[in-house]
């Protein structure tokens, strides 16, 4: 949080919670969706979109107040924002930096783009995707999603 103080002024500091930085530009809303944050939970959420960044050109930043993300939540971010860094903040101090790692599978988060996939029928199962080289793959029909994974988020 202290590496670029002039830019950070765009979004106020938070007391307790999570700061997700270096999100691929334009993906902030999908990051919130994948975390299941819709804005009506009563928690403070700040979003900076297309903030100039030395590393990414432009990046998005999301700050979630009063909520510390779990490793599992952090890992699913990797599908949308492989460069993201996650800082847990307590009393205005970064107490933990989490690395984003690609999970092996993602359950219940994405809908399969194959309309003929059984997971899109009215059946009592959650979608399940295995994570492959540069995308995810439906465990039911084998469909591979590489681009625009954010478009297939099941959560809103």
């Amino acid at each position: 949080m202290s590496d670029a103080p002039d830019r950070e002024l765009r979004i106020s500091k938070i007391r307790d919670g999570t700061v997700i930085d270096h999100i691929t530009g334009g993906q902030a809303l999908n990051v919130l969706a994948i975390l299941g944050i819709g804005g009506d939970e009563g928690i403070g959420v700040s979003i900076g979109m297309n903030v100039p960044s030395d590393k990414l050109g432009t990046k998005d930043v999301v700050k979630v107040e009063g909520r510390e993300l779990s490793q599992g939540e952090v890992d699913v971010l990797s599908l949308l924002a492989p460069e993201a860094t996650v800082n847990i903040v307590r009393e205005f101090e970064v107490v933990e930096k989490k690395r984003v790692e690609r999970p092996e599978r993602v359950v219940g988060l994405l809908t399969c783009p194959n309309h003929n996939c059984i997971t899109n029928a009215d059946e009592p199962v959650e979608s399940a995707f295995g994570v492959v080289d540069d995308g995810v793959r439906c465990e039911f029909c084998g469909e591979i999603v590489r681009e625009d994974i954010g478009d297939h988020l099941a959560v809103h």
């Binding site: 003929n116 996939c117 059984i118 793959r137 039911f140």
Partner: protein, 317 residues
């Protein structure tokens, strides 16, 4: 083979395949070899889309190993029509039968079913997905005619929606096969299938013209290009003719080329091919019975009894 279900060809190792084919060969010679082990066993035939011959083939195989079948009947006459989920349907049928053969129009249906029941589920075709029991009989036929190693196999037709193609290609990665895929641009192999083939280190090439590879092939596996896959009739007419073979076409092939087809065919193989030595598709269809007998014996068999009853070379557990 030690699996609870047969959902896709990708789960089969070379040892699994050879065990079923060896057993099938034994049963083809001596259908009585299974004994009475399946006398009280019932197999449920759940066909959510019509397929007379696959259903009859399973029905025959089950009866030939001493068991019996119960048939869900057509979807129109069942509670499925009223909107019952597949998960509910199979959970009810599980109470009636010792195994379920499932044909369904959606990809992944067999996998889903397998998550809700304890009896073995055999995928008899799920949409454009997989059809692994067909693949076992295809491999049986190939092995009889040409062996399974050091093969050059051409697979032609609708490679995008052809589930028999997806299963066959996947299974062939267990063997030393060079695969040539011949199709119109719009019906190429789907990304997921190509991913698996590359992942398995398969040697494959894709073509739009059969003549590029015909002369090299040991086996040519032909599938039907379905008219309904094309948005307009003109587009269909343009491609369909290019993927039809007749006796004249095969003069450019090797004398020992084997021509296969999962059937039914429409006009992709002309009747004048039937009388040539190339034609293997009717024998291929007949092989479905011993192969499915072996498969059912394996999946429904009760472990040790199965091993004890298996004859030489047919068991790898």
């Amino acid at each position: 083979m030690r699996h609870d279900h047969l959902l896709s060809a990708g789960q089969l190792t070379r040892e699994d395949i050879e065990a079923v084919l060896d057993r099938a060969a034994d049963l083809a010679d001596d259908p009585g070899a299974v004994g009475g082990r399946h006398a009280d066993r019932l197999l449920a035939l759940c066909f959510f889309e019509p397929s007379t011959r696959t259903k009859m083939s399973f029905d025959t195989a089950m009866k030939r190993i001493g068991g019996d079948t119960v048939d869900m009947g057509s979807v129109e006459s069942s509670s499925v029509k009223k909107g019952e989920s597949l998960a509910d349907t199979v959970r009810v049928i599980e109470g009636y039968a010792d195994g379920i053969v499932l044909r369904h129009p959606s990809e992944g249906a067999a996998k889903l079913a397998s998550q809700f029941v304890d009896v073995p589920v055999i995928n008899a075709g799920d949409g454009a997905g997989q059809h692994p029991s067909q693949t076992l009989l295809d491999l049986y036929t190939m092995r009889e005619r040409a062996g399974l190693d050091d093969l050059t196999v051409g697979i032609m037709g609708d490679l995008k929606y052809g589930r028999t193609v997806h299963s066959l290609a996947s299974a062939l990665t267990n063997f030393d096969a060079r695969m040539h895929f011949v199709s119109p641009e719009s019906l190429r192999l789907p990304r997921g299938v190509r991913f698996d083939l590359h992942d398995a280190g398969a040697q494959l090439r894709e073509h739009t013209d059969l003549d590029e590879v015909l002369a090299e092939l040991d086996v040519l596996y032909v599938t039907r290009i379905q008219r309904e896959r094309f948005p307009d009739e003109n587009e269909y007419q343009q491609v369909a003719g290019q993927y039809q073979i007749d006796a004249g076409t095969l003069e450019r092939a090797r004398d020992d080329l084997t021509v296969m087809h999962p059937l039914p065919r429409v006009d992709e193989i002309a009747p004048d091919v039937d009388a040539t030595d190339h034609a293997a598709y009717f024998a291929q269809a007949h092989n479905g019975v011993p192969v499915r007998m072996a498969l059912l014996d394996e999946l429904l068999g009760d472990g040790d009894a199965g091993a004890a009853a298996a004859t030489d070379g047919g068991d790898s557990r």
